[in-house]
């Protein structure tokens, strides 16, 4: 089985090394991208994210990663966004309207309602909307670790699962080769590892299919 090399976008996010370690445990090779050239040759991209929407978008821009990342995603390179990495896929976020998102998905990320305790922090379950790749062979009752105050509220057409914290919000989404989760798979025990494994397996197959020599 050929290992697929996963490119991790390095913009200073706190969870980069946990995601890296989780992917390596699954047998994937990883490299960090903090310069645009690395993105151009990627076979799979993961955008881990923790913190502030504006800070993420600004850093991507400063490191000249924003345009190449958008281009790679639009070009069909398998992409997985984690937490803030999911939110970055949308047009914008109310957390910071002075920066645009990647604009792969329409709409704006919104704050969770103050009727529930915020941040939404801890282990929660998902409600599946349709079968997909990320949650394949993951128990319906599985818990995942969340830590966020903003979310893609409602369920857009890309959503495969929602979670509930005051309101339903997108917990996992898939659209062709674009994947994203609001929870932290790298902090979600065995269930989280399975989600990462499903993404890596998708990327591996895509990589083989796209390469006529193999």
């Amino acid at each position: 089985m050929n290992a697929v090399e996963v490119t991790l976008i390095d913009y200073g996010a706190g969870n980069l090394s946990s995601v890296e370690r989780a992917l390596r445990l699954l047998g994937a090779e990883t490299r960090r991208a903090d310069a645009p050239a690395v993105l151009a040759s990627s076979r799979a991209i993961v955008l881990p994210g923790v913190g502030h929407f504006g800070a993420l978008m600004r850093t991507l821009e400063e490191r000249n990663l924003l345009a190449p990342l958008r281009e790679a995603i639009r070009g069909g390179v398998p992409f997985l966004g984690i937490c803030l990495g999911l939110q970055a896929l949308y047009d914008s976020s109310e957390e910071d309207l002075s920066h645009s998102g990647l604009g792969i998905l329409p709409g704006s990320v919104q704050p969770l309602p103050k009727t529930a305790k915020l941040p939404h922090m801890g282990w929660n379950q998902l409600r599946r909307l349709r079968p997909g790749i990320l949650l394949r062979d993951v128990s319906e009752n599985a818990y995942f670790y969340f830590a966020h105050s903003y979310a893609a509220i409602g369920a857009d057409s890309a959503a495969v699962a929602v979670c509930d914290h005051g309101v339903p919000f997108v917990a996992a989404l898939e659209q062709k080769s674009v994947f994203a989760v609001q929870f932290h798979p790298e902090k979600s025990g065995a269930a989280g590892a399975k989600v990462l494994a499903n993404f890596v397996e998708f990327a591996r197959r895509e990589s083989l299919a796209g390469d006529p020599v193999k």
Binding site: N124, Q125, S139, N141, Y143, A147, G189, A191
Partner: protein
Amino acid sequence: MTLARRIIPCLDTDGARVVKGVQFIGLRDAGEPAELAARYNREGADELVVLDIAASRDRRPTFLETIRRVAEQLTIPLTAGGGVGTVVDGRAILRAGADKLAVNTAAVRRPELIEELSREFGAQAVVLAIDARRVGGPQANRWEVIVRGGRETTGRDTVTWAQEGVERGAGEILLTSMDRDGTRSGFDCALTAAVSGVVSVPVIASGGADKPEDFLAVFAEGRADAALAASIFHDNVHRMAELKQFLALRGVPIRLSS
């Protein structure tokens, strides 16, 4: 679909080794942090807290190395704290592999620290740890904030300080009853409920855990979002899986599978 109540083992360290004592006094060695971390991760802990209770400047590199070694063992979130006084301290701890920072004494001395950390790393990464001691007798339901690991009183009211901490940007409160800490006489549910009822962020109850019933009480009466304990887990008084099973059977939303 409910947010699960969390069970959180805590590793109090002297920077390098896990230590334990009653009400922060009479410390004795209780094991190797990375080994305990691996065990709790395997047994189904929902999160891990590692504290440097000595928090001396010269031991700082040792503690960062401890965090790195602990983080390597985990597939669950890690909170680390002890001596965090600046954004630079905080960044070093997060870079070492922690997901959240616990701040205590330094935040009481200079409350703006909470804002600085929250602005830099996000509220979800800032845990305000409060050590509280009951004042005015058992019926008064007033608790004073204690700092420097129990050595110094501050005159601050715990409930007021928790509210201020949240307003300044703390994303979670780690609330330790100094009256119960290490005594195995149950959590202080009145203290936990007093804080949980007025803050908008999750509250982790700590201090006094002994029986599974204590956990049930602190989730029900104390309205805790999470419960933390150290010695009962280190000494194998309760297995994590059995404790969680006990709570789940009594209707507490709990994550059972790893």
